[in-house]
């Protein structure tokens, strides 16, 4: 069996390259499986993707279920869901993790609906624990705690699925840490033969355009982010100047993205990118939990806000109560002057 007592991870791949989020989840699954004494199983779907199986094993999987078929070459909901649902029904995994990418968020609910199991989107942490239903006077051990910020406010909810299997969750890229590859690590590869039905091909992909994002938030050593407190798209130019000066990237809160001041790939937070830079500058960001979830592990945080009670100040190392439009130029000026004085004294 590759199901019972196992944690499954859907391995998303595009043109033969595995998505980072899938390997990050494989690492997290390994950690949870070690606690439970379970196996980690990676689901590799695609065409001519057999070489990917070993990569998944090297990141911590014990087994790979490999569905290699021409109809799986490009991601499509129905053929992918067909295979995932059939295998989950036959093998009954305990836990099934899927990356919170557009394709993952397309696939996971389709699968959960067919399996009639619970699914929690965009978890920011996964743990193992127990849950007691008092009415039944019964304790369910070894459940997956699906932890995510809840509804609007400063709340973190722990969700469990005590009675249905698999326990499903999606997690965004960057939330879990990328495990180191262990070259030579061994595992088993089992080939799966898809049993498609004609209806599975109701949709065809006529063309695809891959846009390689020029926004490199996840790896940036410094992130300068703006929120609703930034007046306009023009004022974001100040953030860009500062980010350039620091060799960093521009981030944004969801409020700024929704207001159209900056493009969505810049969004930091639970539903955007999770970052852990050396320095995070939060300019005009109040600091809702969904935003903080994506940046609170930054080494140093500078918060600038006119509202002295902004929640962001509570996690900031440097608090500056003031107008972003005045404070940012001061920081830029101080940095430029420092560079100049460095140059004159050190002769660099």
């Amino acid at each position: 069996m590759t199901g019972q007592n196992s944690i499954w991870v859907f391995i998303e791949q595009t043109d033969g390259k595995i998505a980072d989020v899938s390997l990050e989840l494989t690492g997290k699954a390994r950690e949870l499986a070690d606690q439970l004494g379970y196996d980690v199983v990676g689901l590799v779907f695609g065409h001519d993707v057999e070489p990917l199986a070993q990569q998944v094993i090297e990141r911590g999987a014990d087994r790979v279920l490999l569905a290699d078929h021409p109809e799986l070459a490009v991601y499509r909901t129905l053929p992918y869901a067909r295979v995932a649902i059939a295998e989950a029904r036959a093998r009954k995994p305990e836990i099934f993790l899927i990356g919170g990418s557009p394709n993952g968020r397309d696939l996971a609910p389709r699968v959960a609906s067919a399996l009639r199991c619970g699914l929690t989107a965009d978890c920011t942490d996964l743990q193992i624990g127990e849950y007691t239903i008092r009415k039944e006077n019964k304790t369910y051990p070894n459940l997956l705690y699906q932890i995510r910020p809840a509804f609007g406010g400063n709340l973190i909810a722990t969700i469990v699925n005590p009675k249905t299997r698999p326990q499903m969750a999606t997690v965004r890229e960057g939330v879990m840490r990328m495990p180191a590859a262990q070259p030579g690590r061994t595992g088993t590869i089992e080939k799966v033969v898809p049993a498609f039905e004609p209806g599975d091909f109701a949709l065809e992909v006529l063309s695809r355009q891959v846009r390689h994002s020029t926004v490199q938030l996840k790896e940036a050593p410094v992130v300068v982010s703006g929120g609703a407190g930034i007046g306009s798209a023009e004022d974001f130019a100040l953030l860009r100047d500062l980010a350039n000066l620091l060799g960093g990237e521009v981030g944004a809160s969801r409020a700024a993205v929704d207001a159209g001041m900056i493009a969505r790939p810049h969004q930091v937070g639970q539903t955007g990118t999770t970052v852990r830079p050396r320095l995070y500058i939060a300019a005009g960001i109040s600091g809702a939990i969904q935003h903080r979830a994506g940046m609170d592990q930054s080494s140093k945080i500078i918060a600038i806000n006119t509202d002295p009670n902004a929640p962001m100040f509570q996690i900031a190392h440097y608090k500056i109560v003031g107008d972003v439009a005045e404070v940012l130029p001061m920081i830029i000026k101080a940095l430029r002057e420092r560079s100049m004085s460095d140059g004159s004294t050190d002769g660099e």
Binding site: C117, G129, A157, R211, Y318, K319, M330
Partner: protein, 301 residues
């Protein structure tokens, strides 16, 4: 286009608290949210979904039915949908629906769509701003056994029994061709939703669900009984239909809390770790000192 068969659409919408406008004032001193300070609004991307359906009706003819599940006050978004041009609106409300997660919600919507249909196209917003799960659309499509086109931005064409649409993803875009019936989840960049029309606001001002008849009759005493008002509203397409679990033949164990596999184990208030922090005066001197310190600690190179 040769094939001009009318297209019948259903749009599944949600009334949500306006979490986009959470400000310091909405948060209470103990870190919880004052929900009363948040207005209930039409979920933004559901308006994009409605707009897409209305545009198709303009090009092709047909009808647009708007369906929501929620408490009685969710009738407000249906009234709004009527003002924007929907032909028919249905409120799914029942105490038994309370506490539904996305699986139980999609089941109720499936029962309602089957009763209200058939439809050629179903539209949902990509996701609702209160939960951000983006799950109900795909789950509904699965329950209906129809294909889904998530992240739809543009409808390129509808001809015969096929739709060609463009999906926008973080990593690029896709043009897909899909057989009807199909379900689309619509992104916010798809269009600019039309505002509620002033003319329709006047023409349809009496639009009401049965639970609201008393209030209507208080304001319009010429309606002498609920029955008389109902006859009038039905004749003028102003009745907001209200369907219960029984009306749509939904099985009790699949709706509401009972039908929801996910349970909330606990809710934690976030205790912000008190970081060792410095307050920096917003002056050139204060900022320069901070920058100096960051350089000293090798935070800034």
């Amino acid at each position: 286009m040769t094939d001009q068969k009318p297209i019948h659409s259903a749009v599944l919408v949600k009334q949500v608290p306006d979490t986009h406008n959470i400000t310091g004032e909405v948060m209470t001193k103990d870190g919880t949210m004052n929900r009363n300070a948040l207005p209930a609004i039409f979920n933004p991307e559901d308006l994009n979904a409605l707009e897409m359906a209305l545009q198709i009706r303009e090009r092709r003819g047909g009808t647009v039915t708007v369906i929501t599940m929620g408490p009685p006050k969710a009738a407000n978004v249906l009234r709004d949908a009527l003002f924007r041009g929907a032909d028919r609106v249905i409120l799914l409300t029942d105490r038994k629906f309370a506490g539904a997660d996305t699986l139980a919600t999609s089941y109720v919507l499936k029962c309602a769509v089957e009763k209200a249909g058939p439809f050629d196209l179903l539209f949902c917003g990509r996701q609702a701003i209160d939960g951000d799960t983006a799950q109900v659309g795909p789950q509904l499509a699965e329950k209906l056994g129809i294909p889904q086109i998530t992240y739809a931005e543009t409808i390129v064409e509808i001809s015969g029994d096929q739709i060609v649409a463009e999906r926008v993803l973080d990593s690029g875009s896709e043009i897909v061709r899909c057989k009807l019936p199909a379900l689309l989840t619509v992104v916010g960049s798809a269009n600019t939703p039309r505002p509620a029309s002033v003319r329709r606001r006047i023409e349809r001002k009496l639009a009401a669900a049965p639970g609201e008849y008393a209030a209507i009759r208080a304001a319009w005493p010429e309606f002498e009984s609920d029955a008389q008002l109902e006859t009038y509203l039905t004749a003028h397409g102003l009745k907001i239909a209200v369907w219960t679990a029984e009306d749509i033949g939904a099985s009790e164990e699949q709706v509401g809390l009972a039908g929801s596999p996910t349970q909330v184990h606990k809710i934690n208030f976030v205790v912000l770790e008190s970081t060792e922090s410095k307050t920096i005066p917003a002056t050139p001197e204060g900022i320069a000192a901070m920058v100096q310190e960051l350089v000293h600690e090798y935070i800034v190179g």
